[in-house]
């Protein structure tokens, strides 16, 4: 199918999908997944889904946009889209990203350098639909035609496009076929940013049309602002759960651990991705143990949104983003802590440490940092005794995009792994040149219809190839292997993808965080903290 579709196809009035992918068209994978015939067949979209929702893009459907009931409704939706398009290029409405967006709109030369960097494009078998510029070029043509006035000369210079509801519906879906990893932007000779285009389109759809994935909005940022966490945990529940985690960790390690809550004037306010507490309790438990043993004066907060570092607004909505970030800062100010430290959550790192830096003033500007330098300094300080032989199994490191390419935290995690894991090996490429796990920008928590099929076959495929290659010297199940992913979102993607491909059974690949490896190597704790069981 690659190369057959044209930009004008996106306005096609029929409801047929623009492309269809077959397993044998995708980028080949190494052993034991080298055979496309043995790969999972994609689940087909249900007839009910196809009849009720707009599914005219590809083999999946991420958003469930109801089909308009009449031509009048279609017109209204297009009008709302145009209204949002204008706002995207207006400083009152979009001061947050106006400059980079304008530059990207007006200066792309179409050289396709970005495509060579995009894992989704490559994994799809270089399908035109997933070319980073395909989405951007649609927005660019709409920008010149509808925001800048258009005309014949403009159409000749920038290309023309027909705006109708099918185009808008497909563009909504297409804005959720990018992980926002910005690897394409890193390679652009001009500095254009196709990742930003996808993000700004999502913003238009959310902030103007109220359209966004349920998992990210209703069950994500809205739930966080209502209950305190996107997991739905209220302050009372999270405290109960953490108490249980403390008890369990104390028992497993032989060292008494107690997580402090709402300690005024603490040195460190630690904010976890609350999903860790629910899905991987050994992670916050390991944090509590390390900080306790290192003698750090730390606390957690039970304020609304301040016990969950996630900030899904980063992926789709500036207002939701700002609200969550301000709540987290406000909690830190209220406690009078000296600094906020973010746990193992990539997007929370970037959200609070980097992006939110230009949304705060005065005493709300509480210093924020990654847990990685603190952990590195603890590990290398000699305060805690380690026995690296406890980690003598193959370990590779996944670099969460938000920590490395988008924040520049590259070496601390490696210093720790080099010190504690004798068989540490890098993926290629790594560091700021890494590939996304495929679950970035919300995909890891989006599981409607058959979206996971797309997520594992396409967006996660390049990372899967990297993981298998990193362990190519010990592929079989006789050697247990550890995929270190210091990010909840990435772990969610790995959990699901490794299960999907049966890699625990076939290759004994276990995924987990970094702090678990640190505790596993502690000489003073009971051996075997890492539980070599699939979960």
């Amino acid at each position: 199918m690659s190369g057959r579709i044209k930009l004008r196809d996106v306005s096609r009035p029929d409801s047929e999908t623009l492309i269809h992918l077959e397993n044998d068209e995708l980028m080949p994978l190494p052993a034991p997944l080298e055979s496309p015939e043995k790969d999972h067949a994609w689940a087909a979209l249900s007839e009910q889904c196809q009849s009720r929702y707009e599914c005219g893009l590809d083999d999946t459907c991420a958003i469930n946009i109801p089909k308009p009931k009449s031509p009048e409704e279609e017109k209204q939706l297009v009008a709302r889209f145009l209204s949002g398009l204008d706002k995207l290029f207006d400083k009152e409405n979009n001061w947050t990203f106006l400059e980079p967006l304008l530059l990207t709109m007006e200066h792309c030369t179409g050289c396709q350098t970005c495509a060579e960097s995009c894992h989704i494009f490559e994994a799809s078998g270089r399908n035109e639909l997933y070319r980073p510029t395909f989405r951007s070029e649609i927005l660019r043509r709409l920008y010149f035609k509808h925001v800048k006035g258009g005309g014949l000369l403009s159409a000749w210079q920038h290309g023309d496009i027909h705006l109708n509801w099918p185009l808008v519906a497909r563009l909504i879906e297409l804005s959720y076929r990018c992980n926002l990893c910005r690897r394409c932007a890193q390679s652009c000779p001009i500095g254009c940013d196709n990742g930003l285009v996808a993000r700004e389109l999502r913003k238009l759809f959310s902030q103007e049309m109220g359209i966004s994935p349920r998992e990210i909005h209703e069950n994500g940022s809205m739930l966080q602002l209502k209950a305190g966490s996107s997991t739905g945990m209220t302050a009372e529940i999270v405290k109960d759960n953490v108490a249980f985690v403390d008890e369990d960790i104390s028992e497993r390690t032989g060292i008494a651990v107690h997580t402090p809550w709402d300690v005024e004037g603490a040195d460190v306010l630690l904010i976890h991705n609350a999903g860790e507490i629910m899905a991987w309790p050994e992670n916050p438990g390991a944090f509590a143990l390390i900080l306790t043993m290192a003698g750090v004066n730390w606390t957690m907060s039970s304020e609304l949104a301040a016990y969950d570092a996630i900030n899904y607004g980063l992926w789709y909505d500036d207002a939701q983003f700002a609200r969550v970030a301000l709540k987290q800062m406000e909690a830190a100010r209220k406690l009078g802590v000296k600094r906020i430290v973010i746990g193992e959550c990539g997007h929370a790192h970037k959200a609070l440490c980097v992006i939110a830096d230009r949304m705060i003033t005065g005493d709300l500007n509480i210093p924020r940092e990654s847990y990685l330098p603190l952990l590195r300094d603890i590990v290398l300080s000699g305060k805690i005794k380690f026995d690296p032989t406890r980690n003598d199994f193959p370990v590779t490191l996944h670099d969460p995009c938000n920590m490395v390419r988008l924040m520049g935290v590259v070496e601390p995690q490696r210093e720790i792994l080099r010190a504690l894991c004798p068989q540490f090996r890098e993926m290629e490429p790594h560091g700021v040149d890494n590939y996304c796990c495929g679950g970035g920008s919300g995909f890891a928590i989006m599981s409607g219809n058959n979206f996971p099929d797309w997520r594992f076959h396409v967006s996660g495929r390049k990372k899967l190839e990297q993981i298998l290659n990193a362990f190519a010297d010990c592929p079989g199940p006789e050697t247990p292997k550890y995929l270190c992913a210091p990010c909840s979102n990435c772990k969610g993607q790995f959990r699901d993808m490794i299960t999907y491909y049966g890699l625990w059974q076939k290759s004994r690949i276990l995924y987990g965080g970094l702090v678990e490896l640190v505790v596993n190597a502690m000489a003073g704790v009971k051996p075997g903290f890492i539980d070599w069981e699939w979960r």
Binding site: N93, L102, G110, T133, S187, K226, V354, E369
Partner: protein, 317 residues
């Protein structure tokens, strides 16, 4: 004819400058945007810049001054501008044609600038005390200009072939892109051809440059070369109004976006800009945003839509 060419050249340069200034103003007047940097940053400490590290790799980074490794920045900029480093690294197939084209442009621009400066300083005025210097300088400038024009034609032809035959490039190529490349090819071909085929009594490049500076209408040049000069002037005037003005955009995309890791410190100018931005009044329509064109960004950001909805429900009950 000669006067018309002089006027075209001056008008072309004037429009070019005006267009560039306008574009610079548009971008520099956009409000402060959120941080959106991409690593590696060349102005980081050299050992960190080498692997893409940042000050976030240090505990309590805010207690240390921010590194400003300008030498690193200059090195990357020079490699990028002169040798198109990103393209060479990430898109080798397009690098050579693009490099030929751009390097040709640099040579041609350097030749024209040197000729104009030398003319203005009188170095190329025949019969002056600089005649010996001019004797060396004139052929050097002409050689650079000619090589530049040839490289532009070669690069543009190669790019044209790639744009029209490569399926990937075809999809993102507009009629305007083809026209732009043809325009460059036509201008350079006319200039080279016109100069080589000029009549024996036609003015040399030096004489023409001197005539342009002094607006000397007695200078005569051939019609082909003259047509090339007029077309070149139109091309120069046209560039700032197209995406070919990426030489301006690149400053902003790299310095003001990719490399902008300035910290928002209390009491800083940056904090003042943040405060100003938070005063903007958006009008997004989705109900959860709660924007009405009256509320500021700060008010919207401190409002909790779930609490507001709850309050409304309670009031209705």
């Amino acid at each position: 004819m000669t006067a018309a060419i002089y006027l075209a050249i001056y008008a072309g340069l004037f429009i070019f400058l005006a267009g560039c200034i306008r574009r610079i103003l548009v971008y520099s007047r956009t409000p402060l945007h959120l941080r959106w940097e991409l690593y590696p940053l060349p102005h980081e400490h050299p050992y960190r810049a080498a692997y893409g590290g940042s000050y976030f790799e240090t505990q309590e980074w805010w207690r240390q001054p921010q590194v400003a490794n300008r030498r690193g920045e200059w090195r990357v900029m020079i490699e990028e501008i002169l040798f198109l480093k990103s393209l060479r690294e990430f898109n080798r197939r397009l690098w050579l044609p693009s490099f030929l084209f751009h390097f040709g442009l640099y040579l041609a621009i350097a030749a024209v600038t040197c000729a104009a400066l030398a003319m203005a300083c009188g170095f190329l005025s025949f019969g002056t005390r600089f005649s010996e210097f001019a004797h060396v300088l004139t052929p050097t400038i002409m050689f650079a200009g000619a090589i530049g024009a040839v490289l532009i034609v070669a690069g543009a032809c190669w790019l044209l072939i790639r744009r029209t035959t490569d399926q990937a490039l075809k999809n993102s190529t507009h009629a305007g892109d083809i026209f732009n490349l043809l325009f460059f090819i036509a201008v350079c071909t006319l200039l080279i051809g016109g100069y080589l085929l000029r009549a024996p009594d036609a003015a040399s490049l030096g004489e023409f440059a001197r005539g342009a500076v002094h607006f000397d209408r007695s200078v005569t040049i051939g019609p082909v070369f003259g047509a090339g000069l007029i077309l070149a002037s139109i091309l120069v005037a046209y560039i700032p109004f197209t995406h070919m003005a990426h030489f301006i955009a690149k400053y902003f995309t790299w310095h003001a976006v990719r490399w902008d890791d300035r910290r928002n410190e209390r009491g800083s100018d940056l904090e003042g800009q943040v405060a100003a931005a938070l005063g903007y009044k958006p009008a997004w329509s989705a109900p959860h945003v709660g924007a009405d064109g009256q509320r500021t960004w700060a008010e919207i950001a401190t409002n909790n839509p779930t609490r507001e909805a709850q309050t409304t429900r309670e009031a209705q009950e």
